[in-house]
Symmetry: C2
Subunit: 131 residues, 2 copies
DNA sequence: CTTGACCTTAACACCGGTGTCAGGCTTTAC
DNA sequence: GTAAAGCCTGACACCGGTGTTAAGGTCAAG
């Protein structure tokens, strides 16, 4: 498929897909005219990239990890031992991050539940905004 | 206390503390010479700021929320009704973010557990690095 | 008086993925 | 043949909190 379709199917912008390629995360083939042609499996690759990017991993590390995430149909391919330390560091960072987010959410919950049950003021505010 | 002590007690850099002030999150008093003097309660304020910043809220919104987080000793002060919609939006975003992080962690767990039990190569790599 | 720790403001730079625009080529549809 | 949609490369800008440095003021201790 071409870049437009991949963008639609993954939700990634064309800009991002080209960026991923520049970082070595994707290697689409090309038509004689230079158009990028992506394999069906690239849909999953992009999804993985999106997930890991959102989790704070950078493209350099994702590039190293991706080859270890090739699904051979029967589980994952044998992993990359030399990546293990960094892999575990990232995992720990993600866990810390989740904890921080949970703490922040609890903090917000406190504020939310402390909001006066009398929400006259809020309703007036909404009425003002929505005209 | 002065800025150096607050920095030590909160882990925030002096740079960050001055930035928070510039954004209206802190309003320390000043000595005649211009030194910032922080109240004891500012320690908690900074901790809240750190928590919310780490959760992706920006300083502009934190500035609005902070007054609603004044602990009156007996629970929180009555909240700010007009903030409720944004508050809930941020809460939802945090929850989405947690979900995304959990997904990423599961993905990494797959790679980690797919690493060959034979870690000869990794040990050799460690030996090489640690000399 | 001087040294050194601590403080002040101001300015510049960075990260790193993404938005966006310009100028131009290719393919598809009519 | 022509219009429209799609794709190409390249370049500039942004976010927004933080690091860092420069040039200087303040203050307690020796």
């Amino acid at each position: 498929m071409r870049i437009g379709e991949l963008a639609k199917r993954t939700g990634a912008s064309e800009r991002s897909l080209r960026y991923y390629e520049a970082q070595g995360l994707l290697s689409p083939s090309r038509t004689p005219a230079g158009y990028r042609i992506y394999a069906e499996s690239d849909v999953d690759v992009v999804r993985h990239v999106q997930t890991l990017l959102a989790a704070g991993l950078n493209t350099a590390f994702i590039k190293e990890v991706l080859p270890c995430m090739v699904d051979t149909g029967e589980g994952l391919a044998p992993g990359c031992p030399e990546l293990l330390p960094h892999l575990q560091k990232e995992r720990a960072r993600i866990t810390m991050s989740i904890d921080g987010l949970a703490t922040a959410r609890t903090l917000l919950d406190g504020v939310i539940s402390a909001t006066p049950p009398d929400n006259t003021e809020y309703e007036a505010w909404v009425a003002r905004r929505t005209g």
